[in-house]
């Protein structure tokens, strides 16, 4: 469907923070330096599970240059969590009082005049632990004899999720073929280039200012206030430039907490930055999941029912993991119509670093299992994987029973485009294959477990006398380019140019509250708020224009390219700047200010809108060494109306690199709860030579709920890749990869097993 021609939207617009970022001017929390600032370091637990019997800080305190040493005893001991609505899910004391539950958990913090002294002081803190039996795997942790990690939590079951619709058992009855598989999905580190960092400054007037590397200044503000016993309004959080987030930076972290606690005791600024190693061992990760998937299908390829069980390794605390548990189960049904669907998800506590949200939010794991099994079923029954996906895929107007209503859906076009692309590749050489995977993702979550009294997103726009615009938004730019996207939406709506707009974000004192950058929510939710605010301001201008131009009220007025005019007679009008000046006088000099907000209502359980995509991965296997070479990734993508052209391409390519890493490189192996690769030598992040071409085919749809028809783009693109690679390897070598990451060794093992099976036949 083709829609209105836009002046700014989906044109080639530079990132508005670009100049700051390419000249080194951009100042990150990591770069913040305040007068009299002290440097903090954190002492971490060497044990996976232990009682803290005593902590002796005297020797550390005595070290010249050390200003303070704090332990849990020096805090209010508040158990916090981002699921504020549910007391029992607020289970984490950032500096624990009784016991530690994973290796790397903070037990004390030091502030000193230099980083070096602070680090030296850590060695002088004596902690007396009583080591307790520990458990590291969810399937072990639910056993009767397993140690209890949180008092009163039976069998270490942290949260459970049951999703069900239709008569599942009856639907299975109708199936001609039922297939069952077990899958194991690994964890993944967010590995933001900027490690967790915070600078806190508490002043004698009782006010705290905290510079934090966060995805949501508002969440940080609320959580900090809660654990420090301050009013939210007395906590100002600044998130200047943020060096990446990917889902790992909107909970309260130890950098924020310890810097704030020490600053409140010293009335001096305190800076705490994680080392890369700390960032690996103690800043949470993508949730490792065990999936049991049972799928029933008719001979003709019609999906009947799916029943899935999932155990996730929750690690020591809840964090955002509870949400990932739900979303994984929901998107495990995506993007298909099931007569009966049943999911039981279990998040189990273990003595490992906590798991949380990460780009894709549980869906990449779910798709790895679902999309591979569908291809295997197609092979078992001799069906065409494209046809089967088309036959069962979501369509516009479909309701996921009791869960979601699909207003726009370009899935079928996505499948058609990728089918064309794959066919165009013709026959591939030996040991090379193309695999496909389709999926969908949300455009912001509807759930409000943080219990925010504010609207989900809001914006305030102020028009200066010279026509320049101050746009205040609460949404957080963590690199994904939301500042630019918001500027584009504002410029389009007000009828001005992007360079007329100055975006203010990442400051709770000046920007309206917004839940922040997670769950792909900002383009749709903050975008709607910005559009509403700008329409409000524009209306005030046009009201005056009617009077000024003295025209018949039946005419529509609009502003485009800084020209206020009659829509039917574009030549009749006046310059936008003149209009602003005159309107100001008419309003007795009051600034023209527009307000906008967005809170979803009656949009189902999950999200107001869903993006759809299909991806193909072209990969080659070295049959002798098992080494995988990715030749190309191609994605057909329905994100509604693209807003930020450069940003969209960047998100797609970035998602591909992160998702490929998850598929065949990145892993977080542990021994007795100890992470074995907490550095960038042993933790493998894709580098330029490994990165394949990653093309995009935009499928043009219009999402009624989104600003100018836009919906999610970027996060969902991490979902299909691991499955697509798995399918590529299946097509190339005929082996089924049920465990992530797909390493050369696992490939060779599967090849050997295949040989043995064939030998038996």
């Amino acid at each position: 469907m083709s829609h209105a021609k836009y002046n700014v939207i989906n044109t080639h617009v530079h990132n508005i923070d670009g100049v700051a970022k390419v000249t080194g001017r951009a100042t990150y929390t990591f770069d913040v330096k305040l007068p009299g600032m002290l440097y903090g370091k954190i002492l971490r637990s060497p044990h996976a599970h232990a009682k803290i019997k005593n902590i002796d800080t005297s020797a550390a305190m005595a070290l010249p240059g050390v200003k303070i040493v704090v332990t849990g005893k020096d805090t209010l001991g508040v158990k916090q969590g981002i699921w504020r609505r549910y007391e029992e899910l607020c289970d984490e004391q950032v500096l624990p009082l009784e016991k530690v539950r994973y290796i790397g958990e903070p037990v004390a913090a030091v502030a000193a005049i230099t980083e070096e002294i602070a680090e030296a002081a850590l060695d002088l803190i004596e902690v007396d632990y009583e080591v307790l039996p520990a458990v590291y795997e969810p399937l072990e942790a639910i056993k009767k004899e397993a140690p209890t990690i949180h008092e009163g939590v039976e069998r270490n079951v942290n949260v459970t999720r049951h999703i069900e619709w239709g008569d599942v058992d009856e639907a299975f009855e109708e199936a001609d073929y039922i297939r069952e598989d077990w899958f194991k999905c690994s964890g993944q580190a967010h590995m933001c280039m900027e490690t967790r960092a915070a600078v806190s400054s508490f002043t004698p007037d009782g006010k705290l200012t905290c510079w934090a590397s966060t995805q949501s200044a508002y969440y940080t503000q609320g959580l900090l206030a809660g654990v420090l016993g301050l009013r939210e309004g007395d906590v100002r959080v600044l998130a200047p430039y943020v060096g990446g987030g990917f889902g790992g930076k909107f909970e309260l972290d130890a950098a924020m907490f310890t810097s704030a606690v020490m600053s409140m005791k010293l009335f001096k600024p305190v800076k705490v930055c994680f080392t890369r190693e700390e960032d690996f061992i103690a800043s949470k990760r993508r949730t490792p999941m065990f999936y049991y998937v049972r799928t029933g299908i008719k001979k003709d390829g019609t999906f009947c029912a799916r029943e899935s069980r999932m155990f996730s390794n929750g690690g020591a605390y809840t964090g955002m993991g509870a949400t990932a548990l739900y979303l994984s189960g929901f998107f495990h049904s995506f993007p298909y119509k099931w007569r009966g669907y049943r999911y039981d998800g279990y998040r189990v506590y273990t003595n490992t670093l906590p798991s949380t949200s990460m780009r894709g939010f549980g869906a990449p794991q779910a798709m790895f299992c679902s999309e591979q099994q569908i291809d295997w079923i197609c092979a078992d029954l001799g069906l065409d994987p494209f046809e089967v996906r088309r036959k069962n895929g979501h369509t516009e107007g479909y309701e996921v029973p009791g869960q979601a209503f699909i207003q726009s859906c370009g899935l079928e076009q996505c499948i058609n485009e990728i089918e064309k692309w794959v066919k165009s590749k013709g026959k591939l050489p030996a040991n090379r294959g193309i695999g496909i995977s389709s999926c969908g993702f949300m455009s912001g979550g509807i759930f409000n477990w943080f219990d925010s009294p504010y609207s989900f997103s809001s914006a305030v726009v102020t028009i200066n006398v010279d026509g320049t615009v101050e746009l205040h938004v609460g949404c957080q730019d963590i690199g994904q380019g939301s500042n630019t996207t918001m500027a584009i939406i504002a410029a389009e709506t007000l009828g001005v140019k992007v360079e007329d707009i100055r975006v203010h974000s990442g400051d709770t004192a000046h920007c309206p509250a917004d839940l922040g950058a997670w769950g792909s929510r900002q383009t749709l939710m903050a975008g709607n708020a910005v559009k509403m605010a700008c329409e409000d301001a524009k209306k005030q201008l046009l009201e005056f224009a009617y009077a000024e131009m003295g025209i018949n009220i039946v005419y529509d007025l609009d502003i485009k390219d800084r020209w206020a005019h009659i829509v039917a007679r574009p030549e009749r009008g006046l310059p936008y700047v003149d209009l602003v000046k005159k309107a100001l006088r008419a309003k007795d000099g009051q600034r023209i200010m527009g307000r906008g907000y967005y809170t979803p209502h009656r949009k189902g359980m999950i999200s107001p809108a869903y993006s759809y995509m299909m991806q193909a991965v072209d990969a080659e296997i070295d049959p002798e060494t098992g080494k995988i070479k990715i030749h190309e990734v191609m994605t057909a993508h329905d994100c509604g109306q693209p807003i930020n052209q450069l940003g969209l391409i960047g998100q797609l390519e970035g998602a591909a690199s992160m998702a490929l890493g998850y598929a065949y490189l990145e892993d977080m192996p542990m021994e007795d709860g100890k992470l074995m690769n907490p550095n960038l030598v042993d933790y493998k992040v894709i580098k330029a030579p490994e990165m394949p071409e990653a093309g995009i085919i935009e499928i043009d749809t219009f999402e009624p709920e989104g600003p100018y028809g836009a919906k999610e783009a970027g996060e969902g693109l991490t979902n299909p890749t691991a499955a697509a690679l798995g399918n590529a390897i299946y097509n190339a070598m005929g082996i089924q990869m049920k465990e992530l990451p797909i390493t050369p060794e696992r490939v060779l093992k599967a090849l050997r097993e295949k040989k043995e099976q064939e030998a038996q036949k």
């Binding site: 002798e624 060494t625 493998k684 580098k687 030579p689 490994e690 060794e745």
Partner: protein, 290 residues
């Protein structure tokens, strides 16, 4: 954090050797690409640090048709990679350097430092041994010249004693009908090898194998020559079957250690595969060589 140390900056080689002789608890830094990491981890904390980065006498690349190639110890990897004469006479060295870590590391890191560090996973070791290189090191008392495959004695240990500096690497002039190939197996292009194999083949006029060297990287405590596999091929008319057999022998002869990146079994298997492939590649080069 790096421990404190006294910084020694000699102006000449002579002064460097003298200073090194004077101070017992002293380490040598040149490019420091490996040293500074272990110093930061506190694993190495010398009282004195001797900086030879700017000792110009040790920074050179010389080639002579008879004498062969001489590379000074403080020559950077990047200088070797960019050397036209090396590209012409020893292309395998350039190919190896191009895959050694990153450009930044090659710009500052040096060949002498790399060899003295004696990491069994290092790239230059296996290739230079396959090229039959010798290494010259010495102290204020005098110099020693040893075949490179005798230079390494254990993990991060060489024949050098306190006071010894690496001075020069000497690679003999390439013989006629000679070929040499190197490949590492890794997950990322810029990584050290999980395992690696270098092979060189010299053929007689009649096409039989005159000399052969198979050197494995990260397959044991030192760059490992697998002599059983070599002996199988010496004097024979080489073919794919022999290369495969040599690979099998090499995978038994090597002694890799498992870590999170690969099991011992997988390492042995891949070493066998690489050995076979590098032998074939070196052989084909030798056949076409003048």
């Amino acid at each position: 954090m790096i421990n404190d140390f006294h910084y020694l900056k000699p102006a000449s080689l002579k002064e460097a050797l003298a200073m090194y002789a004077e101070h017992d608890d002293c380490k040598v830094i040149c490019g420091g690409q490996s040293l500074l990491i272990v110093m930061r981890q506190g694993m190495v904390a010398p009282e004195y640090l001797l900086d030879i980065k700017h000792v110009k006498e040790l920074s050179y690349i010389k080639f002579d048709e008879k004498d062969g190639l001489r590379i000074g110890a403080t020559t950077t990897h990047r200088e070797i990679e960019k050397s036209d004469i090396i590209a012409k006479k020893y292309p395998v060295l350039v190919a190896m350097e191009e895959k050694l870590a990153s450009i930044q590391t090659r710009n500052w890191g040096t060949i002498g430092g790399n060899l003295a560090h004696a990491d069994p996973a290092g790239d230059p070791g296996p290739v230079l041994i396959a090229l039959n290189a010798e290494i010259k090191f010495g102290n204020s008392g005098g110099e020693k010249l040893v075949p490179l495959d005798e230079f390494f004695v254990d993990y991060f240990e060489t024949q050098m004693e306190q006071g010894d500096l690496v001075l020069e690497v000497h690679v003999p002039a390439p013989e006629p009908k000679f070929g040499c190939a190197y490949q590492k197996f890794n997950l990322l292009d810029s990584d050290m090898g999980i395992v690696a194999a270098a092979a060189s083949v010299t053929l007689n006029a009649d096409g039989t194998c005159k000399d052969i060297r198979i050197v494995l990287g990260n397959a044991g405590p030192i760059p490992l020559r697998v002599t059983k596999a070599e002996d199988l091929l010496k004097g024979k008319k080489l073919d794919d079957a022999l290369f495969a057999e040599a690979g099998t022998i090499a995978s038994e002869e090597c002694m890799p250690v498992a870590d999170i990146h690969a099991s011992e079994e997988h390492r042995r298997h891949v070493l066998g595969v690489l050995t076979k492939r590098m032998l074939k590649k070196a052989f084909e080069q030798a056949q076409t060589a003048a």
